[in-house]
Symmetry: C2
Subunit: 663 residues, 2 copies
């Protein structure tokens, strides 16, 4: 009989968990799809989680190929919708070439290809008759895309482009799926025609033969080697690629925006450049969604284990204290729980933003683009950094046992952290946000209206002067008070930075010199966005007993924890007083007590299967210790009682016979 | 010919690097030993670094056994001193059972064994005729040592103890070296005699036969499985151990402090209990030293690579900007460089503290013990947390390439992080510090003098009122001003917390409720210790051109960065004004400019060989790109051009033949 060791925790919950699951999933429909596909994956032996850390790179990779093929087979057999297929890949939970094929290659062609190109390439891609990757980064250039060195030289004689890697540092480096699998890639290269440079453009290049999978002539390609962690992202074949004068037909340059004519002239099409931003918003909303997925997963493990783990405080031989009852544990864990929910809400809002921007682009309305670009860049940076740190904090919250691979947390960390780097290094992105904010501030007097997530800056005069109204701890529960404090902080920091910048003769020099401050301004602005979107969400009707109340608590925890962590910002700009800061702290403590009885139910609402979590510490039933014990014996080192190497290397030490030993 | 790509950087240094190497090593002697042994290890083919991430667990472990045996052989052949032997193990750079044997087993016997026991066991251990481990933690109890469940019941009939594991959770779990190698262990168990409990004590227990290495009757032992990362700490056989009524002679209880007589009576020896604290201080000073080792290693890699890496800012086709020139990069990197030096200085001071406390213990002077205990607990926590976070920040500072295993940073992180957990969970330790601080505050009026690192609290009245004297940015370079600000902050936070505590009827309840605040008080106190020890060091004469000046800059960077990061503390307690905070920031920026030309030389001063660093990004000669490229091809996935699994799993997708494929 299976015992639920966490049943007691679950019975304490003060809200309807089933309804919360729907909030988490986004809609009843989304919940049902997710739930059904999760079970499907978990119950299929072919998708069983391997002990990835025990596999060598080749075995690991081969097994990923197997799972990817099997997933594609099932997707077709079951005629899954796009939504269902994507959930299936999510629950299979193993990075694979298919991620880049669907997530970058196909969108790049959709976003940058002409109608004709789309008609030619998309059906092939959709049936996976070709497999694509996205090859932008080179050994020498990542962040600075304009610095890419690969060249695409137009040869009017043959109506072809010659793709070439002129230097070692121009080798493509990092693209996922490239190393061993992709047959094609969208390759970014510097366009040269008639002896002139025309910036970086994308080209569809075939890399491998569709017959024998060998690299085409002039192409050198391989895997770049092992990455962080065991298992983790090593199931992916991030690749290196060099071109030696490889020729492709002219119509394989992605020409939606710029075109090269038969004569080698570069002409702009009537499709506006800005259209490509649509893809960027799409990718970033996915990344923010992934952040809430990864963080919630770590929080789920740490929360359940913190309720199982007991340490100290036993009274007269009774049970010891559950570590989740320690305020220090709560002070580290609950803000992460709150962040997981907050990022979920923001991700949902970004879905709306994406739809909105797509419609505007169709109507040739580009007015919101700069703001949308800054906002999504900032949210990508904020949520991925917080998630990476949060996963590691969850691991530490599990004490020693969190360090075991079987806790699930080390691999989750290793597989997640590159999100801070790819699709824009987080610091580079924040600098872009800061640049936009400085521009917004500089135009405040000019009559140009601050829009979207910067609209609050329109109230700059009020926000520069307002005084926080908090008199007692509960005042910090009022959304209007929290909003004003965050808006005042962001505004005052922006204005102060703008003033400091204006002291420099050369704006660009000033920007470089003050960039560390500017990053902090950007962070303040982005945190405000998260808080405001969470608060907006709570102004809607949310059904289910106690559900809204829980979300309100989490929203307050999120905001007040940030206020505490960035107290210097709030105090130095005079947004709040030290006394008010101390009241915020009191309120935060009391919120922790309100979250406490609901904590396990709040992570149950993520609806993760044990298969997906793949964590002994995070098991739904809390049956941690017997399972840890059982699992230990499966380690290869336990195959024999006396370890391989004992006779050669340990015995001679013990017997003092090392002198003659061959080592 | 080998080119030094960093030669230009090195020529910019404004100080004598050779002299700085001696400061870093601690003394000319220490430098020479270290330098000699580092070269010895680096040049010996038997110590070549394997590509650990490519080895399966068994191969990996066997290879560690080989290296450990070879190291021991060389130590004996070369008749190395203890200092030299320990440096050798350090530079071999692979966690092994020998770490626990020398680092925990031997010290435990020295610290807790009687003269007689030491005479019996130490010679065996010193010759490695037995190999020992340290088995305290159990599946169910780590932090709470008093909660351990293993029992040692005295049987007066046979004059033996019966060691037993009564529950699953009483299984020993985590001890390094236990899993596969140790023949003996110091086992902690709950002493039972005459039906009475007498708390937890240490026992020397033989685990495996010295003949065939099989576990002795009644003993179940094995490895607990794979841990964080690839390679990393997986070279260690952390173990699980269960006892089924295992009998050991009475004289194998470590009896320096408490003894069990032939009749089963527990008597205290005339050796004071406090003596065991000596070992604790010893272990913690080692951990702080290790923190500076690990952090400096990461910083060395990130600094060199940041000088090699160029991105953006090329003017008219010239070279792009080295990323180390970006202020955001400096703002992340230089405080870590400063921390590495700061922790080094603190580690050195702890050597003195250890000598001091040992002498006092010998003279039955226990007056400084509580303070020393708190101070070393706090420094262990502070330095290990900062180092773990710092390594990961260094990885991120390297952009995408930092994510490659060959950057050296992922493995360094994975191998280092448990330092935050073992030898006392960092939060649990900070709570102990806070407890001590609250006691100190409560006794301030009573005439009891605050000693050692809390001496500043004796000036509580002054520190509660003082006003910071800073008028312009350079004032922040004055040690007295920095010290006062840090002392005032720690004092005011302590006093405020003590006041809040006193509002609770039950002190213990108050302590639990306010524990998150208390942790912050402890951190403030520990940061003050680091700053003050660094400042004290600079009051000494330090030879070498420019050396002292560099250290002064780093000391200021360390202090002002903390001030900025914890600005809320300083402002809310009124220690400084917002204007002064802003001046501190200005000063910090200008310090970065002063550190910049010296950065590469400052990491050269760590004197790490390329062998030890094992990082392509951190290579001394900066020849990063060709070596990354070369290394990629060695990955097993590149053994064949078409990957294993292609024909079964990829071909059928491309050929639309998946339906019939067997997966
Ligand atoms: C797991 C993984 C998967 C990837 N997948 C792909 C893929 O499929 N396709 C693809 O094309 N690429 C891929 N990449 C590459 C990725 O997009 C780049 O690594 C990323 O853009 C960062 O660029 P970089 O590595 O050049 O970092 P760098 O720019 O070299 O960053 C190094 C440091 O310099 C700093 N820095 C750089 N510029 C500035 C500046 N202007 N101001 C201040 N600081 C600065 C950064 O903050 C960072 O600290 C992948 C990378 C990883 C790790
Ligand atoms: C790599 C590694 C090597 C090790 N080697 C050895 C060895 O050689 N020998 C050996 O005996 N042991 C060893 N250990 C075990 C190690 O000493 C313990 O893991 C450590 O003491 C932490 O205890 P724990 O795991 O029980 O954590 P827990 O105490 O269970 O911690 C879980 C959480 O509870 C919190 N918590 C616990 N108590 C309190 C409290 N009173 N107040 C507030 N919060 C609290 C912690 O902060 C943490 O967040 C090793 C561990 C590791 C990871």
């Amino acid at each position: 009989m299976e015992v639920d060791h966490l049943a007691d925790e679950r019975s304490k919950a003060q809200f309807d968990v089933e309804e919360m699951k729907i909030v988490w999933a986004g809609s009843r429909h989304a919940f049902q799809v997710s739930d059904r596909i999760a079970r499907l994956v978990a119950s299929d032996p072919a998708f069983q989680k391997d002990h990835r850390a025990r596999l060598g790179r080749k075995e690991l990779f081969k097994n990923t190929l197997r799972k990817a093929a099997y997933a594609w087979k099932r997707i077709n057999e079951l005629r899954l919708t796009e939504e269902e297929a994507s959930r299936l890949r999510f629950f299979v939970d193993e990075p694979a070439f298919t991620d880049l094929h669907w997530g970058m290659f196909v969108p790049a062609i959709k976003g940058q290809g002409t109608e004709e190109q789309q008609q030619k390439w998309l059906p092939l891609a959709h049936k996976m008759q070709i497999i694509g990757c996205y090859a932008q980064t080179e050994l020498g250039h990542g962040s600075n895309v304009q610095g890419l060195e690969t060249t695409a030289t137009f040869d009017p004689q043959t109506d072809e482009f010659i793709i070439h890697s002129p230097t070692l540092t121009s080798s493509k480096w990092w693209p996922g799926g490239l190393g061993k699998v992709a047959t094609h890639g969208v390759i970014y290269a510097r366009l040269l025609t008639n002896g002139q440079e025309h910036g970086v453009h994308g080209f569809i290049v075939q890399i491998r033969s569709l017959d024998d999978h060998l690299p085409l002539p002039g192409i050198t390609v391989g895997d770049i080697g092992i990455k962080f962690g065991s298992g983790a992202y090593n199931t992916m074949d991030n690749g290196v690629l060099r071109f030696d004068q490889v020729r492709i037909p002219r119509n394989q340059m992605l020409m939606r925006v710029s075109q090269v004519t038969r004569e080698g002239k570069v002409v702009q099409s009537d499709v506006p450049r800005q259209l490509v931003y649509g893809t960027m918003v799409f990718v970033r909303k996915t990344i923010v969604g992934d952040a809430s997925n990864a963080l919630s997963r770590a929080v789920c493990i740490a929360t359940r284990y913190s309720a199982v783990r007991r340490q100290f405080g036993s009274q007269k031989g009774g049970l010891e204290t559950q570590v989740i009852d320690y305020k220090t544990q709560q002070n580290r864990l609950f803000p992460l729980l709150a962040s997981a929910y907050a990022f979920r809400v923001v991700g949902e809002w970004m879905e709306w933003l994406y739809t909105d921007v797509t419609q505007r682009l169709k109507a040739n309305d580009f007015s919101t683009l700069p703001e949308v670009h800054a906002c999504t860049a900032g949210l990508k940076s904020l949520t991925t950094s917080a998630t990476a740190d949060g996963i590691e904090e969850c691991r530490k919250l599990c004490g020693g046992h969190g360090y075991l691979h079987s806790s699930g947390l080390p691999e989750l960390f290793a597989v997640y952290v590159p999100a801070c780097t790819y699709e824009g290094d987080n610091i580079v992105l924040l600098l872009q946000v800061a640049r936009f904010l400085m521009k917004t501030v500089s135009q405040l007097g000019s009559g140009k209206k601050a829009v979207g997530t910067t609209a609050y800056m329109g109230r700059v005069e009020q926000l520069m002067q307002c005084r926080c109204d908090v008199q007692n701890a509960e005042d910090w529960l009022k959304p209007s008070i929290v909003m004003e404090a965050f808006e005042a902080r962001a505004t005052r920091m922006s204005v102060a930075c703008a003033r400091n910048l204006s002291k420099f003769g050369n704006q660009e020099e000033g920007f470089l010199e003050l960039s560390a401050d500017l990053v902090e301004v950007a962070v303040a602005h982005c945190q405000l966005i998260v808080v405001s979107k969470f608060i907006e969400k709570l102004q809607q009707d949310i059904p289910g007993k106690g559900v809204k109340n829980q979300l309100e608590n989490l929203c307050s925890v999120y905001a007040l924890n940030i206020l505490h962590k960035h107290l210097g910002d709030f105090l130095s700009t005079g947004c709040i007083t030290p006394m008010q800061a101390s009241l915020a702290n009191d309120q935060l403590r009391s919120l922790y007590s309100q979250v406490r009885p609901n904590a396990v139910a709040l992570v149950d609402a993520f609806n993760y299967t044990d298969h997906f979590l793949s964590s002994i510490l995070g098991r739904y039933d809390g049956n941690v210790y017997p399972k840890l014990y059982e699992d230990a014996w499966k380690d290869p080192l336990n195959d024999s009682i006396v370890p391989d190497g004992f006779h050669e290397y340990v015995q001679p030490i013990l017997k003092q016979q090392l002198r003659n030993a061959k080592l």
